[in-house]
């Protein structure tokens, strides 16, 4: 087995595609509910937090350029605590994959294929992801390059089409009800910008690790800018109160777009989004598989793909009762759970690393 290498551009594409597809689903509504008119500010703040996290993650990874996050953990924390934390990460990656798969099928069922059972959609996308993972990280990266271009082009297209609808008065007055709602909102979206910590899982594969910061900065900026624009658009069009009550505000907006005689083009947008989702799910399950491989010190991960895929599939089906539950979960539970893995554990690793290096 050769060592896989990915370049900076591929890392950018992969990371962006592992954040944006779900970021455009629930967050606009959730943030509009929490931060009201200042949702755009909450997105921006979360973006800044994401950039800070990215900087920290790169500092941590460049201290151990040969290791991914879990390997760093085991090297720093010692065998016992290291394995414990790896185990925790295994659960995290499995759960987060299951959530993403469920978000995917929930969205598809509620907006695109109403008569298709959820299990079919989850099953299809997980099977596809398993195939991609079987072919390896490099292949996922190569696919993400093209998906990135297609998704970003269509998003840009969508933004350009909606420029006439933009109404900056919709965000006035700024910070009307204090900064507290903005912070609340940014904590929720920090889950997404915080996903930049996956960079530490890619770091050993980068062929130019010195350029890792470019990938991180571009990813977080693209995500943040796009989310700020999209929340502008939806709030200009629907107003923030309506936005917070629509489950998928961006979809509701896209439904209204027509090009000349051709209306109802949202199916195309959804399909492009599915392509992005495919990358995201593949990458997430890949990381879960790699985490298990790391936990048991296996030499290759391929035998784990099928069991992991089945596990994620089943979990995605039984995890939530309905779509609203996901939305509530993402608003009330997830923001206090995900940063543990995105921020707290890496911070712990880094502090331990510092203490150890001071000792010696």
């Amino acid at each position: 087995m050769t060592i896989e290498k990915i370049n900076t551009w591929q890392a950018t594409a992969l990371l962006t595609m592992s954040i944006i597809p779900t970021a455009i689903l629930f967050p606009p509504a959730v943030l509009a509910e929490l931060a009201g008119r200042d949702a755009w500010l909450a997105f921006l703040l979360a973006g800044v937090l994401g950039l800070l996290l990215a900087g920290f993650i790169i500092i941590l990874s460049s201290a151990y350029p040969e290791y991914n996050l879990l390997q760093i953990g085991e090297a720093v924390m010692g065998p016992f605590f290291g394995k414990m934390i790896t185990l925790a990460y295994v659960f995290f990656f499995i759960i987060v994959s299951a959530i993403v798969v469920r978000e995917f099928s929930a969205f598809m069922v509620s907006s695109f294929m109403q008569f298709t059972p959820l299990e079919i959609l989850s099953g299809v996308i997980v099977t596809m992801a398993m195939y991609a993972i079987y072919l390896g990280l490099e292949v996922i990266c190569r696919v993400s390059e093209i998906v990135f271009i297609v998704v970003m082009t269509s998003l840009l297209f969508f933004v350009v089409l909606s420029i006439p609808e933009l109404d900056l008065r919709s965000i006035l007055p700024v910070v009307d009800s204090g900064m507290q709602p903005v912070f609340n909102g940014s904590i929720v979206f920090f889950v997404w910008t915080g996903e930049i910590f996956f960079l530490s899982m890619l770091y050993p594969y980068l062929n130019r690790p010195a350029q890792a910061w470019q990938a991180a900065v571009i990813t977080v900026s693209v995500v943040t800018i796009f989310m700020v624009i999209s929340v502008f658009i939806t709030e200009s069009y629907f107003g923030f109160q309506l936005t917070s009550r629509i489950l998928f505000p961006l979809l509701a907006y896209v439904r209204l777009i027509g090009i000349g005689f051709w209306e109802r083009i949202e199916a195309l947008v959804i399909l492009i989004w599915v392509a992005g989702m495919y990358i995201k799910i593949s990458f997430f399950i890949y990381m879960a598989v790699v985490a298990v491989k790391q936990l048991f010190g296996l030499s290759q991960y391929r035998p784990l793909i099928l069991p992991m895929g089945s596990l994620v599939f089943i979990l995605s089906v039984i995890m939530f009762e309905n779509t609203i539950e996901i939305s509530v979960f993402l608003r009330d539970v997830w923001p206090f759970f995900a940063p543990l893995y995105a921020l707290i554990f890496p911070l712990l690793f880094y502090l331990t690393h510092l203490v150890k290096s001071l000792k010696s």
Binding site: T2, I3, E4, K5, N7, W9, Q10, M108, F112, M113, T116, I120, L121, V124, M128, Y131, A132, L135, G136, E138, V139, I140, R142, V143, E145, I146, N207, F261, W262, E263, R264, I265, A267, L271, V274, A275, Y278
Partner: protein, 526 residues
């Protein structure tokens, strides 16, 4: 990327010596002429087309046996340049007292007036050269035999390449004879760095295969990889066509996509050599293999490069046609079955009116029509040209017109199938078009079950598969994945001759510069 290619191309184990022909028993040359004749007779199996001609050297009593295969030798040159000088040989002219060895040496250097001769000390090799058309001379008391090239192999004339017709450009194609093909390449590429490496494969057919490359240009790791894979052809019993070699050396035998392109056109082969690729010529086949092959090569044709702006236009057309050929029937199924809201109302209305009496769902309808079309196409290929006409009449009138009138299929479906068929004819490479035809059915099944989502699933699976493919260590989808914007220009467009100052970097040629910059023609400034 760079590191990756390096890693991949590097052979797994260090090469010691590459065997270039199938293993054979050692057969030393016995001293006496009688033994030689006997062993030779056993080796060629006493077959009736092998002729053993005994004669005396000059007017002496030194006996010589000439062995050759009837029909493979050029009798005129054999008589004039071989038998005549030997039979009129005058020993006394040379020296007074000589042994057979001296006579042999003198014959070899002074009397046989044929360019190519070879000495063998192994009778097995000599017997094989008889079977290739050489004349072998056996002497008494010499432990070597002389193989004289008197070949005149049955062959076809150089003809137009039938499978790759182009509007403008050279009209000669490769033939079945390896030497002719090598000459066709050499004639176009008069450069000392053009290297032909021949080897033999097939324990029964003993087919000669040539690996061709430009020494100063091609990445040596690619050549090394080709040599390593070509070892496999030695161990099979027969190589009848370059397709057999292709199957033995390709990267992923389970992929529906061809990973090695073949061509009948010497000019195309030379163009590929000049990009740093390796050509494999198989004796007995006019189709030469091009390695490594990238995906986008299959939508390129030689005359893209010979006509001015036309190339760019037609390439865009082919990319569109490629997608139509793969997805159009599925799109029709998905839209009419699952996503009728996406079709503009007036069109939807006429589709539904046309489908009024059709008893099948769109999916079944599409499968039937595509299936019939495949039947017709396959029938047309195998038939002689005179009867082929009848197939198109049956197809167009009876199946097309009558099926609509009988309400078996809707006219829209016929239009869709027709557009699909025409689009698939735009793909210049036949083997690539075959894989499209097969995949189209897969995509249709997914579209019939999951609608547009199914089409996307198919597209993403295909894309993932394509992104994972490699041809001799080079990523198959390059320069698209991994992305190289500068070289991607030449995929969808055909850049003018004066723009392409660099060779494609995907193949890592040793010499990256193709031509000087600033060749752009300009009007006189005076």
């Amino acid at each position: 990327m760079k590191n990756f290619i390096k890693k991949w191309i590097r052979p797994k184990k260090q090469q010691i010596s590459t065997p270039s022909e199938p293993p054979h028993p050692e057969t030393p040359v016995p001293p006496s002429l009688a033994d030689k004749t006997r062993v030779m007779g056993e080796l060629v199996g006493h077959s009736n087309d092998i002729i053993f001609r005994r004669f005396n050297l000059g007017f002496s009593h030194t006996e010589v046996v000439a062995v050759y295969a009837e029909g493979l030798v050029d009798t005129t040159s054999q008589n004039e340049s071989l038998f005549k000088p030997l039979m009129f040989y005058e020993k006394n002219k040379d020296t007074k007292s000589v042994g057979t060895v001296q006579i042999y040496e003198s014959l070899k250097s002074n009397h046989i007036s044929i360019g190519e001769i070879a000495e063998h000390d192994d009778l097995w090799k000599a017997s094989h050269s008889v079977l290739s058309g050489d004349t072998v001379l056996l002497f008494e008391g010499v432990n070597k035999v002389l193989c004289i090239n008197t070949r005149s192999l049955p062959q076809r004339n150089i003809d137009e390449p039938k499978r790759e017709t182009i509007v403008r450009g050279p009209q000669e194609g490769f033939t079945e004879l390896l030497r002719t093909n090598m000459a066709l390449l050499r004639r176009r590429l008069k450069h000392p760095d053009l290297v032909f490496e021949t080897r033999r494969g097939g324990t029964y057919t003993y087919t000669e295969v040539a690996i061709v490359y430009l020494r100063s240009l091609v990445n040596p790791k690619i050549v090394e990889e080709v040599r390593r894979r070509m070892e496999r052809i030695i161990h099979t019993d027969s190589i009848l066509e370059s397709g057999m070699v292709e199957e033995l050396i390709e990267d992923n035998p389970y992929s529906p996509f061809p990973q090695i392109e073949h061509t009948e056109r010497p000019d195309k082969a030379v163009a590929q050599l000049l990009e740093g690729r390796v050509i494999i010529i198989v004796d007995g086949s006019p189709f030469t293999l091009i390695v490594p092959t990238l995906f986008w090569q299959f939508i390129q044709s030689a005359d893209d490069y010979y006509e001015r702006i036309f190339g760019s236009f037609v390439r865009v057309l082919r990319v569109v046609a490629f997608h139509i050929a793969l997805f159009l029937p599925s799109l029709y199924i998905a839209l009419t079955t699952y996503h009728q809201e996406m079709i503009p109302f007036s069109i939807l209305l006429s589709i539904n009116v046309a489908r009024e009496g059709v008893p099948f769902p769109a999916f079944v309808e599409a499968i039937i029509m595509e299936g019939i079309f495949e039947l017709l196409r396959e029938a047309g290929i195998r038939l002689p040209a005179q009867i082929g006409q009848a197939v198109s009449i049956v197809g167009a009138i009876i199946l097309g017109q009558a099926a609509i009138q009988a309400n078996l299929v809707s006219p829209f479906m016929v239009i869709v199938v027709a557009i699909t068929a025409i689009s698939s004819f735009l793909i210049p490479a036949f083997n690539f078009a075959i894989s499209l035809r097969i995949l189209r059915f897969g995509v249709m099944i997914l579209a019939g079950t999951l609608g547009l989502f199914g089409i996307l699933v198919a597209a993403m699976l295909l894309w993932t598969h394509l992104a994972s493919l490699r041809s001799f260590g080079v990523p198959y989808m390059a320069p698209m994945a991994p992305l190289n914007l500068r070289e991607l220009r030449d995929v969808f467009l055909r850049l003018p001759k004066w723009v392409g100052d660099q060779r494609p970097s995907t193949l890592r040629p040793l010499d990256k510069i193709r031509q000087d910059r600033g060749l752009k023609p300009q009007p006189d400034t005076e």
